[in-house]
Amino acid sequence: MESGSTTDHSVTMIKRKKLFEDRWSSFGSHAGLTGLSEMLSPAELREIDIFKEYDDSFLQTISPDVSIAQWKADVVLFEEGSFLDLAFYVLDGEVGVAIKMHEESLNAIPTFDAQRTVYASDPRSFQVPQEGVAATILQTRMTARETSKDPQITFLASMDFNLPLGSTIVLKKGDLFGEIGALNGWPQSATAHTTSACKLVQIRVPALREMKKASGAFKEKIDQIYRERTLFEQLKTSPVFRGSGDAFLESLTEKVELLSFSPGDVITKQGDRVDALYMVRSGFLKIFERLGEADVAVNYLSKGMTIGEVELLLPDIDTWLSSTTSVGYSELVRIERDTFHDIIREHPLVEKRLWDSAVAQMKESGFTRKNLDKSELIEFSLQKGLVQGNSILVIDLDVCTRCDDCVRGCADTHGGRPRFVREGDTFDHFLIARSCYHCDDPVCLVGCPTGAIGRAGVGEVVAIDDGLCIGCGTCATKCPYDAIVMHDTGDTWGDDALPERLRGRPQKVASKCDLCYTSDDGPACVNNCPHSCAFRIGSIQDFQSLLSTEKAEA
């Protein structure tokens, strides 16, 4: 996957042709898709069951994000691991859904193990983090990998379908699928293919979100699918509930409430009565407290983390100690207060874990209250998306001599084109270079028409296959951190280019940091910095501990 100007065109074309025969493409004509509707009117939409309950003005708003597609029999709609920004609703025909994940990929070592990204004076001294977000993410991943050793059941943290390996289920008229991955920014965990000629309604994420918000019945339907297909496995591998027994978890899936929030929505309000424990399914939450006249961010929560245990466990506390808002779109599990108390009565292990989590949260919030710099860092990290990152390139400007060896090293490793820019936001005297953060939920993967951008393996680095990239710029537009750069190759597309509309046009290619994952020496930027001031952080905890070290200098 080495980039550069050395792409073998014939291989590229063969690969691309095969890909276009195989899968759906938003670029139009190819083997599987036989027709795609124009924009549908409210009246046309209302003829479809799933839109029946919405009024005209609502349907008018969402219609640009809805289309009806006709598919041939036996074509692949999407594959395991692909990221989609749309869901499918079966109008006619049948769709088979199967899991055929290879064993090796399940056992692959994730690139984002902390060992790769943690900074340390001696790499051998690395310890698996025991606390904080890094620990949670790591534990979740480890559990996922352990669980996946079961030969019968394949498992990914983001499941759309909870199926035995190798089996297929058939979806028929009235079934909705793909929505869990799309709404949460997770990869699809199954491969879907048409088993007969099909007519499918394709609904993009913005429309899905609006539909969920506008209709309780639709939300209920989506939640029900989520409960049936995903929730059980998610609870089973969550840091709090793992190992709690299938019967208990199955009953819990029926008792919890599923909630969705938009950016800025308030989830808890300091001083209000504590009503439940909340667990994050996707997205980020900001926790803040009123200190004097100002609201101060004291912590943040990401996937798998919980809020409410402190207030629910400590006697004599009846109100929220802090407020919580949703940073972007987030999905939460709500466990009602009484259910929570029933659980800890019957499951001492869960209670112990919740106590551990409560103590860690209190420590963290207490620390932030005393060290307001940390609050600033939390705000900054949430604003700039650092919380998403698994490997963020940071440069210590107090040491950096601006020699650009890091950039040159990167360019020399990648066929002359650097994959990052030594520019970006600064925090304290650290520069957050404009380089891929290697996000947990990479939005850049959604919408690539050829699948050129993808994970190199389960939980692995996101990389771009030059041979498949058609330079459309979708990924670069999607990346919120400007970490994907479009390069002009200086060539024009040949007469055999696919899709045809590219022919004769200037050839561009997207490029982004791939952590030099094919090399044994680690990222070239870090390796080639002579002053050791370019480094990678795996979480904001890393950053925090770095800043504290600096502050502690005698």
């Binding site: 790769r116 004076s121 020496d521 910095c529 002579p530 480094f535 600096e550 005698a554």
Partner: protein, 287 residues
């Protein structure tokens, strides 16, 4: 896929200046030990035998100095062969470069018995060695001092090569702002701001005080404020912000230029040193 991205962590219990000047204590103590070892050998040599570049002791020092210089050069070689993915981290090579340079000079001086050589060729070799190591030390000082000044005193961070492009961008935006502004603001812009938005303006002042000059130069904006209608206050603020950024860019330009140009004192003459050393070794072996 298993390597860690390493950061040379600062030691929390050391003072800031020490962390700044000595990134790695093991390397520093290794260097001190090596210097001490060399001096002990020299004292033994001085007390037990003659100090002469041509005897076994002297030749030993000369060979040691050559080996040190070759090790020192590996850093340069590594920088120029990044495409070939040379083994090891650049940081390690730089440590060898810096401390090895010190050892080279010491061994060279021991080779000449801490005296100025009398031959014309060896005299030049001796002088150039001093120059190369001296300019290297100057480089270290510059590289430690300037980044701290830049990161502590300025709000913006600028890529040196993009300075002209950024200034052009500032000029275009400023002109847009004043185009529809009050006459007085336009005049002020034409006379006080526009001349500075043509090109980067390096100033010696930035070496003395990286921020002082800037504060004084944006003061006139405040004098003008009282004369402008309320509708133009926002434009004035924006213009002031842009001008402030331009001055910070100038400060970056001034100091970053030094970070780049000191190499002129060091690199070409180092090449001359290598050539002269080669000639010196050849002539010693030949004659």
């Amino acid at each position: 896929m298993k390597k860690t991205a390493i950061y040379q962590r600062k030691r929390p219990d050391s003072p800031r200046w020490l962390n700044k000047w000595i990134q790695s204590l093991p390397w520093f103590f290794g260097f001190v030990l090596a210097v001490f070892g060399c001096l002990v050998i020299f004292v033994v040599n001085a007390t037990t035998g003659r100090i002469h570049p041509g005897n076994a002791w002297g030749l030993g020092y000369g060979i040691g100095a050559t080996v040190a210089l070759v090790a020192v050069l590996l850093y340069t070689v590594r920088r120029r062969t990044m495409k070939l993915r040379p083994p090891g981290r650049a940081w390690t090579y730089l440590q060898v470069h810096v401390y090895g340079g010190g050892i080279f000079l010491l061994l060279m001086l021991m080779h000449t018995g801490f005296r100025i050589p009398s031959g014309i060729h060896t005299w030049w070799l001796w002088l150039i060695s001093l120059w190369v190591v001296g300019s290297g030390v100057l480089g270290i000082v510059i590289q430690k001092w300037i980044p701290t000044v830049l990161s502590a005193g300025l709000a913006v961070e600028v890529h040196y090569d993009r300075v002209p492009e950024l200034i052009e961008h500032i000029r275009t935006r400023s002109e847009k702002i004043v185009a529809s502004a009050d006459e007085r603001l336009r005049e002020f812009y034409e006379s006080r701001v526009a001349p500075s938005l043509v090109a980067p303006e390096p100033r010696l002042m930035y070496f003395i005080d990286i921020t002082g000059g800037i504060h004084a130069r944006i003061k006139p904006f405040e004098y003008l404020r009282a004369l402008l209608p309320a509708s133009d206050q926002e434009s004035l603020d924006e213009l002031k912000e842009l001008f402030n950024t331009k001055l910070e860019i100038d400060a970056h330009y001034t100091l970053q230029r030094v970070l780049r140009t000191w190499l002129i004192l060091h690199v070409p003459i180092s090449m001359v040193l290598v050539v002269l050393l080669f000639i010196h070794i050849f002539s010693v072996l030949y004659y």
